[in-house]
């Protein structure tokens, strides 16, 4: 305002001379506002940014599309090399015919001398009566006519027993490194008398279940819990057919009365396999299961796929203490054991092959365990690869998803275990499985990491709705104040120039 004419003497005070009207003061106030705003932008930027560490995208992509092949060495203990060639050809043809069943395996037929240096091989020895197995050895009548094709058939059902027809209802529980087994003795209604009040569950477990669990030690860890219930009513009434009671196939599917039975504790997040012994009330004995053609089934046991096994049992004779007789206990736990094997995916031996008496020390043979290990290894490898790919895909897709150190570390470790798995796949099946399981567990943990939660989606309009009242009201005056100051400063400079 230097350019303005001198104030008339009548005016008591000149507004441009007032302290708070000084140009410099006003300009510095506006400048301070803008300085604060500009300086606070980096702070706002860092406090609202999401930590997104980079994941090993290339490594994941590289590992995820590799396919695992587990070698199976079959050693023929025979000097006849033409026979060996014949078996090898037949086996190759079998693999080609049903490639989905043999997927992930690479069987090879070798002579006994070729096998000497390797481990984990199967030996086939000549033996002149019905075939049997002992350890990883198969004794087979190799000198009979058609021996080669019979041998190949037997090998197929021993080495890759999993077919779609062998697992029709997807009975086998999904892999978990930990399972909880819940053993329940349920009395439909003990008040009607003749209920089973106690059972020697420890004895049954020791005799029938523990050997299985010990054998599966490499695959799973188990926790066992047990309970006895005295009142576990059914949600339907069984049909009465003459002297017996029967459950129709349709009712069997809704046999578990989950609303009224408490079948397992919720003490951990491990998957639970239920094994239930159901004692019908004394007014409904004997209780049987009907087959689809309305005849009484010889078996009183059934499996709910991936859930557990149930036995309906009418006690033969109760002791004075209402304890389950040890004879019954034996049968029941033997049934539980076979149900458990089915649920955990231990394959059955083909009916043509027996086990040697010395082999019966273990609850199931090495061939079965190896087949299960191979299946679980392939499942885990595929699961780990899928999960890692999904993590990478989701993190790319959802921009608001934070990635912290723990997720990145888990992904990297899962990846390194996957690499180790491929490296060991030709030397040791057990090791390969171990790495596949660890990789799968880490990949799953990374995926379900609580920190990996994407910011919620807010439509653009909502952002305007929140920020405009805040920024527009304070921003516009500031903006125009700055504009005006710049204009005035330019004008004054122009005036100065003119004066000069």
């Amino acid at each position: 305002m230097d350019s303005s004419p001198q104030p008339p003497p009548t005016s008591p005070r000149d507004p441009s001379k007032l302290f708070h009207q000084k140009d410099s003061l006003r300009r510095s106030i506006v400048a301070v506002y803008w300085t604060v705003i500009v300086l606070s932008i980096p702070l706002w930027w860092t406090t609202t940014s999401i930590q997104r560490l980079s994941l090993p995208f290339n490594g994941v992509r590289e590992q995820a599309y590799r396919t695992l092949e587990l070698p199976i060495s079959i050693c023929l203990d025979t000097t006849d090399s033409t026979f060996r060639k014949e078996v090898a050809d037949l086996l190759a043809r079998k693999v080609a015919e049903n490639s989905s069943r043999w997927a992930g395996t690479a069987p090879s037929v070798k002579s006994i001398t070729e096998c000497a240096g390797t481990n984990d091989f199967y030996t086939i020895k000549n033996h002149n009566s019905s075939p049997y197995i002992d350890g990883r050895q198969l004794y087979f009548p190799l000198e009979e006519p058609n021996a080669s094709s019979q041998l190949v058939d037997a090998l197929a059902s021993l080495l890759v027993p999993y077919t779609t027809s062998a697992d029709p209802d997807r009975r086998v529980a999904q892999y978990s490194s930990r399972y909880r087994l819940a053993f329940s003795l349920l009395n439909e209604d003990a008040t009607t008398g003749d209920g089973v009040m106690r059972w020697k569950v420890q004895e049954g477990l020791r005799a029938h279940i523990k050997p299985i669990l010990k054998r599966l030690h490499a695959l799973h860890n188990f926790t066992i819990e047990s309970q006895v219930q005295f009142h576990a009513p059914l949600a339907f009434s069984p049909r009465q057919i003459e002297e017996v009671y029967a459950i129709s196939p349709e009712d069997l599917t809704v046999f578990i009365n989950s609303a009224e039975w408490t079948l397992s504790s919720s003490s951990s997040n491990d998957p639970v396999l239920h094994l239930v012994l159901f004692i019908p009330s004394s007014t409904r004995r004997p209780l049987h299961i009907l087959t689809k053609d309305e005849s009484i089934s010889p078996s009183n046991a059934f499996i709910r796929p991936q859930w557990g096994g149930i036995i309906i049992h009418t006690p033969t004779s109760l002791t004075s203490t209402n304890e389950l007789p040890s004879k019954d206990l034996d049968i029941i736990f033997a049934t539980f054991a076979s149900q458990l094997l089915g649920l955990l995916g231990v394959p059955q031996l083909p009916s043509t092959v027996q086990r040697a008496p010395s082999d019966l020390k273990a609850s199931f043979s090495d061939w079965q365990l190896d087949a299960l290990l191979r299946r679980r290894t392939l499942e885990n490898a595929a699961g780990s690869q899928d999960t890692l790919l999904s993590i990478v895909k989701l993190v790319n897709q959802l921009e608001g998803m934070p990635v912290h150190e723990d997720v990145r570390d888990d992904v990297e470790n899962a990846l390194s275990f996957l690499t180790k798995m491929y490296d060991t796949s030709h030397s040791s099946l057990r090791q390969t499985f171990e790495f596949s399981a660890r990789s799968f567990n880490l990949a799953s943990r990374a995926f379900s990491n609580p920190g990996l939660l994407a910011l919620l989606y807010f439509p653009t309009e909502h952002k305007y709705a929140v920020y405009t009242p805040l920024f527009a009201t304070s921003g516009l005056p500031l903006f125009f104040a700055a504009l005006r100051e710049v204009k005035r400063w330019k004008e004054s400079r122009l005036a100065k120039h003119k004066k000069a």
Partner: protein, 391 residues
């Protein structure tokens, strides 16, 4: 995203009219995702376990009916065989213990008060302020702190059929939670996609009863999801019945007719989804309910109601091993495995991580939006004009 938002803001302050044009680009992205996923294999209808997530998202006494909706669904799925351990029930408030409840400890969904939904055996997993958008997303995606108890987790796998039911107050593509936050259709769609990626479901049946409900499932893009909602875009969903003693509406119309039909369904019923949807009359419920089937491979006639509302219907009779089976070995083993008796797990309620974001407007009708855009334009123009006219 931040950068683009910042630019949006700067541009937006200078000219608001730009906002109207830029909102629909998301739809193309969603469509692309869907096209990409539609080719993937479907697993078929086989499932081995059933789960239900039932959400009542609104609180306060006057929203009694939303709690009754969720509890009515709870009663139905439990009656049809889903165990409590597989039901995640989220109730934003507890009307049964509200001081205004003339029937303390009870919740009814009919004016004749025939069935007490709060009965004797009920397990609410998330209650009151625990019902947040974050917790709901965590339940679906399984991203939980290790300390969260089993009863609060959705422990599904690739053989699980999941029924997701939601009710509350909502609008175009959002549902309010607790009056202070909201979940959008995009959030649920993304959560389902994450479930799909981790193989956490075989099939999902999504049902929602809220105003403009059909918009909530419009953004889904993951396969094997069947969805239904109570009303179209721009329509309200209405309550069905008032109880003069309770003093408020006790149930919503759409849920009422679904539950009414379900009453005649039992565990072994073969009733199909088609039959359920034919039963519901848009005239009676005063809104046009919608069904989205394009993500689902089976036709409505082939989907049994018990596929989602009930327990699993599969049993396989196995032969008993012979009594003197020699395969069974009896070596005494040292006890290497831990054993325990059943203990009840006492879950300690976790303090919810509250999200405190409040919106200044829920009005979303198209006319209002237009009006808002134009009036703000006029206001802005006026301001700019004023400043320059004074020069």
């Amino acid at each position: 995203m931040r950068l683009s938002f910042f630019l949006h803001l700067v541009i937006g302050i200078l000219s608001w009219s730009w906002a109207a044009a830029s909102t629909d680009s998301q739809e193309q992205i969603v469509k692309d995702f869907f096209d990409k996923n539609s080719n993937s294999n479907n697993e078929g209808s086989t499932h081995t376990n059933n789960w239900a997530v039932l959400v009542c998202a609104s609180r306060y006494w006057f929203n009694y009916r939303h709690m009754a909706n969720a509890l009515g669904m709870y009663r139905t799925v439990k009656r049809l065989g889903i165990p409590d351990s597989n039901i995640i029930l989220m109730l934003a408030d507890d009307v049964s213990c509200n001081q205004r409840n003339k029937f303390p400890g009870s919740v009814y969904f009919t004016p004749d008060r025939g069935v007490d939904l709060y009965g004797d055996n009920i397990e609410v997993d998330y209650r009151g302020y625990e019902v947040t958008v974050e917790n709901f997303i965590r339940v679906l995606t399984g991203r939980m702190e290790p300390s969260v108890p089993r009863s609060k987790r959705l422990l599904t796998d690739e053989r699980s059929n999941v029924f997701v039911y939601m009710t509350g107050h909502g609008g175009n593509e959002f549902l309010k939670f607790q009056d202070n936050e909201e979940i959008s259709a995009f959030d649920i769609a993304d959560a389902f996609e994450q479930m799909y990626q981790k193989k956490r479901y075989n099939e999902i049946f999504f049902m929602i009863d809220t105003c403009q409900a059909n918009t909530m499932y419009s953004k889904f893009y993951s396969p094997n999801i069947l969805a239904t909602g109570s009303s179209e875009l721009g329509e309200s969903s209405y309550s069905h019945a008032n109880d003069h003693d309770i003093g408020v509406a006790v149930i919503d119309a759409y849920t009422h007719y679904v539950l009414e039909y379900m009453e005649n369904v039992n565990k072994t019923s073969h009733a199909s989804m088609q039959q359920l949807f034919s039963y519901i009359d848009p005239v009676k419920i005063n809104s046009h309910f919608g069904v989205r089937t394009d993500l689902f491979t089976r036709s409505l006639d082939n989907i049994r109601l018990t596929d989602f509302f009930g327990g699993v219907a599969q049993a396989e009779i196995v032969s008993r091993p012979e009594t003197d089976n020699t395969n069974i070995n009896r070596i005494e083993e040292e006890e290497v495995l831990s054993e325990r008796n059943i203990t009840e797990a006492h879950s300690r309620p976790r303090l919810p991580n509250q999200q405190t974001i409040s919106w200044w407007s829920y009005a979303t009708s198209p006319q209002y939006k237009q009006l808002r855009i134009w009036s703000s334009l006029v206001m802005l123009g006026g301001l700019i004009g004023l400043v320059f006219s004074r020069k």
